[in-house]
């Protein structure tokens, strides 16, 4: 990100719509919260308010999910990898479209389950065989059938805990600040709009190209997203 800081970024307006987002009033860059101090506050754009500091990425806005999925698919095919989609509800195709195939979550859950299962069983084994052996109806101390229900429960418990905390960890949550919220229209991502972001840390990221590329996907809007 460091090399992004000294270059001011300009977004051309779409031109077809005067009410579009880049022309809408917004906080001056210096007032936006959590901004990194940047030397590039001076405005080089012909339009005030569209030149911004260091960028998180460029965001395209769509008004329906199939356009978002199609755009995400083309973005992935164009070779961009650090891309992300935002939608009010889960879209099954989207994660495939942005090339998000695997997470480490299943393996974390599996390990959690195995630890829970082994732990539960060994705990009972230790208690019944070593710690406090009781003769119950002449059955052996290691009465494994009786251990199964609790083994099952501890397996589920640890797998579920691993799932919840593993998910939070992999998503780096809780995260009180995220740059995408700097985009003025982004609040609609919880309502009826769909967003695609190409992040600035993508190896192929070249700002003007990215803007042009996103525009070629015929979104409603293309916006820079500040860090």
């Amino acid at each position: 990100m460091a090399d992004e800081k000294d270059k001011p970024r300009t977004v051309e307006e779409d031109g077809k719509d005067d009410t579009d987002i880049s022309a809408s009033p917004r906080l001056p860059a210096s007032m936006s919260p959590n901004r990194h101090a940047s030397p590039s506050l001076h405005q080089t754009s012909p339009r005030p308010g569209v030149t911004v500091g260091p960028l998180y990425g460029v965001m395209a806005e769509f008004d329906n999910p199939s356009n978002l999925v199609a755009a995400a698919r083309r973005t992935y095919e164009a070779g961009y990898r650090k891309i992300n989609g935002y939608s009010p509800y889960p879209i099954e195709e989207l994660w495939e479209a942005i090339g998000f195939h695997h997470t480490r979550l299943p393996i974390i859950v599996l390990v959690g389950g195995i630890i829970g299962g082994l732990g539960g069983f060994l705990m009972q084994y230790y208690l019944s065989v070593f710690d406090y052996p009781l003769n119950v109806g002449g059955k052996p101390f290691n009465s494994w059938p009786a251990f199964i229900p609790i083994t099952f429960e501890t397996t589920i418990l640890c797998a579920a805990l691993a799932a919840v905390f593993g998910m939070l960890a992999l998503n780096k949550l809780p995260q009180p600040y995220h740059p995408v919220f700097n985009a003025p229209n982004f609040k609609l991502a919880t309502r009826d709009h769909f967003f695609l972001v190409i992040e600035a840390n993508d190896p192929r990221y070249e700002h003007d190209e990215v803007v042009e590329f996103l525009k070629s996907l015929e979104p409603k809007e293309v916006t820079d997203v500040e860090v």
Partner: protein, 397 residues
Amino acid sequence: MNGNYSAPTEVGRWQQRALIIGVVFTLLFAMGAFLDRSQFFHSYLVAYLFWTGIALGSLAILLLQHLTGGAWGLIIRRVLEAATRTIPLMAVLFIPIILGAHQIYPWTHHDEMSKTPALEEKARLYLNLPFFSGRAALYFAIWILTAYLMNKWSREQDRIADRRFTKLMRMISGPGLLLLVLTVTFASVDWAMSLNPDWFSTIYGLLFVIAWALSALAFVIAVMSFLTNREPMSRIVRPNHFQDLGKLMLAFVMLWAYFAFSQFLIVWSGNLPEEIQWYLPRLRGGWGAIAVAVVFFHFAFPFLLLLSASLKRNARKLVMLAGLIILMRFVDLFWMIAPEFSPEGFHVNWMDVVAPIAMGGLWLAVFAWQLSKRPLIPINDPQYDSVLAQAPAHAEH
């Protein structure tokens, strides 16, 4: 949209092949009736319970998917409906069981039932042939009526796009499912548990409900993977439909294991002579080896594989697992029934193999015939649009 959803012509060829196999093996099996009469009926009972299970399990899943809704149910509904239209065939095939009851059920032998007062009362009040046949007639009346109504309204819905039929089907599904669980419980007690009139288990009925639902689901997955390679289903079915079916299969496998283990755990903990007598022959020698195989290949192996999302999305891999489960369902059923006929040790006869193939051939022929009679997708279902709306996005991919 392009609304031609008639079944592919291969279904007709399927029907022919199944019929040929069914007829050839039925003749072979019928020969067995002259060679060893009691073995014939023993093999017949296992085969009968297996194939009836697929028909009735399909009815259970049909009612279930009307209650839950969802794309997975819409996609498989016509397969389930075709399977429920085979229940009248199973009613006819029940007649040999009544005719051979004396070879199958110990409670038809007076000397056997006069051993203890409890057995005498059981035979007098419940386990006697007239009442047994009457109960079976009642079960079939309920099942055939439910299946008939579901199929009739579904066809009406195809003809006229009217929300009324959707509501009717949904309305009957709740009570229907309740009634189905009760009748299957009674039927399993009558047809299978009464092989050992001394023994009882209260979870036995539920064990049959889930076992039959599981075999039906595995069968449906097999049929779906066959249909998905061809028009018209190739236009609609997507990997995540198979993932849903796979998830359901995982849930059923776990529920089956839960019931089966609950029964074992309770009997094992109680350690009472009248209860453990059912398990003792089944856990020794050859039967014991089958019990271990059931634990591994009916539960552990499918359970571990079904955890994988990519396997569930892959129709070709999922269908192999479904095939294994169908096979293990038969093995498990054999393990539950056959030891009653040879408690002294493992015993398998050629008729045990021929019977399920003979009955399966006939059953599959009727199933394929029924499947080809109606479009494979209920186009007037309210969920149709939302299911189809997702399809083109996938086709592009």
